[in-house]
């Protein structure tokens, strides 16, 4: 299978008082055309940083140090000149962010914001762009699309704004959609609508989706493959159904139990401790201080990624020990 996006040894760090703080370390993955890959992790896992570095959207002022390789259809995107990169955002890579109330511009109408990419990237004239904008709003199931064009973001509810964001991201029919926590700010009944909308559009448009989320339930219901990240590194990767039924990394297991709200006698299963901050990561496996299966060897070196099942890889030297009872 040819891959649409190939990421190799991606490292992203941010300079701080104590030197460069590593946010993402040595990340490899690929996405095939039409596939949904989810990256799941808690805050500080590096999942959003990794996603933002693909279309070159990391904030300049934080002076990110990026190395490795990000190839979109064979074309290297890291260190690509800005003008060239800008031409790719839209037709090649579309993006949806978490917070629909801050990612739309409050002083421009919905119509103007949807038409902008249509006019700059697709070369449509004003009238054609407006017609296409109405089509797009219909596609994302916004009611009364003609009237919405003249409205401002504050006139819309959170769910409607996120639909508008999706319409903008889809305006140039991107081959890859990067969705960074697209439903986290929404209520559950609206979240379900938006997720169903994204997967429906993906199937009909044949687009690949890179979904960033902290919610394993969302992963189960939308993704084909999943990457679990912890403290800046990939700890497990594989087909969703496999990973969420037979995880081999103890962190994935803990996350899974927490997400299922599994409990006994009124208490929920918890992972003890906290995610170590970037400047205090232990030398070996970053999960070792919180891990019930940890042994001395876990502290010696960062465990290598290796195969643990069909299509499944994990970074744990004790993956075969199985799930503790």
């Amino acid at each position: 299978m040819t891959s649409l996006l190939t990421v190799k040894s991606l490292c992203v760090g941010f300079p701080g008082k104590r030197g460069v703080l590593p946010a993402v370390e040595d990340l490899d993955f690929h996405i095939a055309p039409g596939e949904t890959l989810a990256i799941v992790g808690e805050s500080g896992s590096g999942k959003s940083t990794a996603a933002l570095s693909i279309p070159g959207l990391l904030s300049r002022s934080s002076r990110p140090v990026v190395s490795g390789s990000v190839r979109f259809e064979g074309q290297e995107m890291l260190n690509m000149p800005d003008r060239k990169l800008a031409r790719m955002r839209g037709p090649d890579v579309g993006m949806i962010f978490q917070d629909p109330s801050t990612s739309l511009n409050p002083v421009f109408t919905i119509g103007r914001q949807i038409c902008e990419p249509l006019r700059t990237h697709m070369g449509l004239d004003a009238r054609a762009a407006e017609a296409r904008a109405i089509e797009l709003l219909e596609l994302v199931k916004v009611s009364a699309p003609e009237q919405r064009l003249a409205q401002y973001p504050h006139n819309l509810s959170g769910g409607m704004r996120q639909r508008v964001m999706i319409a903008i991201a889809l305006a140039c029919s991107p081959r890859l959609l990067i969705a960074d926590e697209p439903t986290t700010a929404l209520d559950v009944t609206v979240q379900a609508q938006v997720l169903r909308l994204i997967s429906g559009l993906q199937k009909s448009l044949g687009m690949a989706v890179l979904l960033i989320t902290h919610d394993l339930g969302v992963v189960w219901e939308t993704a084909d493959r999943v990457i679990v990240m912890y403290a800046g590194r990939k700890v497990e990767e594989g087909p969703v159904r496999r990973i969420l039924s037979q995880p081999s990394h103890p962190y994935t297991e803990g996350l899974l139990r927490a997400a299922r709200k599994e409990g006994r006698d009124g208490f929920l299963t918890e992972i003890p401790g906290v995610v170590p901050p970037p400047h205090q990561r232990p030398p070996g496996c970053a999960f070792e201080p919180r891990c019930a299966r940890a042994i001395a060897a876990c502290r010696a070196a960062v465990p290598a990624i290796r195969s643990t099942g069909p299509g499944q890889v994990a970074a744990c030297i004790r993956a075969e020990e199985g799930q503790p009872a």
Binding site: E42, G158, V188, T189, A192, G217, L244, E270, V274
Partner: protein, 335 residues
């Protein structure tokens, strides 16, 4: 003996709509609740359902437009005027955002010790000792007393908020989404802390949440709210039996669930929650309800007892008949 009794509580907010016209947001519109000592009542609903406004009225941070809140048989409005300190010792609150609910300029020890100082609960010489005890109870090391909030993670700050609430030995803690700003692995730690404290100290919780799965393990009673009203309430057994109100059902089904079989079609609600400024006529849920009949559009249903719980739906009996045991099991089994 009831600890907290909320009777026909109403909270309306007047809002200006510009050019001199005004409107009323019906945030809470006639809610009745009861909590016994040592019990957890979970209020669940989406944004705009009035759950936080209700919480603030109960905690005495806001005044109800009408209706009554009684704490151990005394009207809370009277108590707040006559003896506000006694009221604050009875009811404490833990807020959603652990970043904005503690003062960044004060040390953790001062934040927790304030209640002890203001309520003159322990002599000054013993205050530091009591703060250490409280820190230990919430799972923080004693040396955290000298730190500032910015040195703590979100989960740790939420523990500080809990210790601060606990300092005055309250009978009831109002928890407004206490874990929704935290990562899943930390959520379980904080939830377990709340359960442990309840078992040790007999404190009752009014637990506000948007997540039915989360409250399932800790709630003794649950009430689901929609547009300012309770639509279904009962004891925790309804989690196993299944909800009868179509909104409560949708809220439960819409949450993404690991292990849901592929192709299992979930009926999704259409549209968003209507504005609480002009709630729909008749049943407030009829605009989104998959079960709407003509009667729902004109006649507002009352909250009435059906099958051991209270439901605000004209068609509750039909829903009950439709809910066959195996279906209920499939819909509510975990994972």
């Amino acid at each position: 003996m009831t600890l907290l009794k909320v009777h026909k509580l109403v909270r309306h907010f007047p809002v200006s709509r510009g050019f001199g016209s005004s409107a009323i947001v019906r945030a809470v519109d006639g809610v009745d609740l009861e909590i016994a000592p040592g019990e957890t009542l979970a209020i669940v609903g989406e944004s705009g359902c009035g759950k936080s406004s209700l919480a603030r009225c109960v905690a005495g941070l806001d005044t109800a437009t009408s209706g009554k809140v009684e704490v151990e048989g005394t009207d809370s409005a009277d108590m707040l005027t006559a003896d506000p300190m006694r009221f604050r010792r009875s009811i404490q609150m833990v807020f959603q955002d652990p970043y904005s609910s503690v003062n960044p300029r004060r040390r953790i020890g001062e934040i927790i010790g304030d209640g002890l100082r203001l309520h003159k609960l322990v002599p000054r010489a013993q205050r530091a000792e009591r703060v250490r005890e409280l820190l230990e109870q919430v799972g923080l090391a004693a040396d955290y007393a000298d730190r500032y909030p910015h040195e703590l993670s979100g989960g740790q700050r939420q523990r500080v908020s809990i210790a601060r609430a606990l300092a005055v030995n309250p009978r009831l803690i109002v928890c407004d989404e206490p874990v929704s700003a935290l990562d899943v692995s930390v959520q379980a730690q904080v939830m377990n802390l709340l359960v442990r404290l309840q078992r040790d100290h007999g404190v009752a919780y009014l637990f506000i949440s948007h997540d039915l799965a989360l409250v399932r393990h800790i709630a003794h009673k649950v009430a689901v709210m929609y547009l300012g009203q309770v639509v279904e309430s009962g004891d925790a057994a309804i989690f196993d039996q299944g909800f009868l109100h179509p909104y409560a059902q949708s809220l439960f089904d819409a949450a993404p669930r690991i292990g849901r079989p592929e192709g299992e079609e979930v009926e999704l609600l259409e549209g968003d929650v209507p504005s609480p400024i002009s709630p729909p006529s008749g049943c407030r849920f009829h605009t989104r309800c998959p079960q709407t009949i003509d009667r729902c559009k004109v006649e507002a249903p009352d909250l009435r007892p059906v099958a051991g719980r209270d439901v605000r739906c004209h068609r509750a009996e039909e829903m009950l008949a439709r809910m066959m045991p195996p279906q209920a099991e499939a819909a509510f089994g975990t994972g």
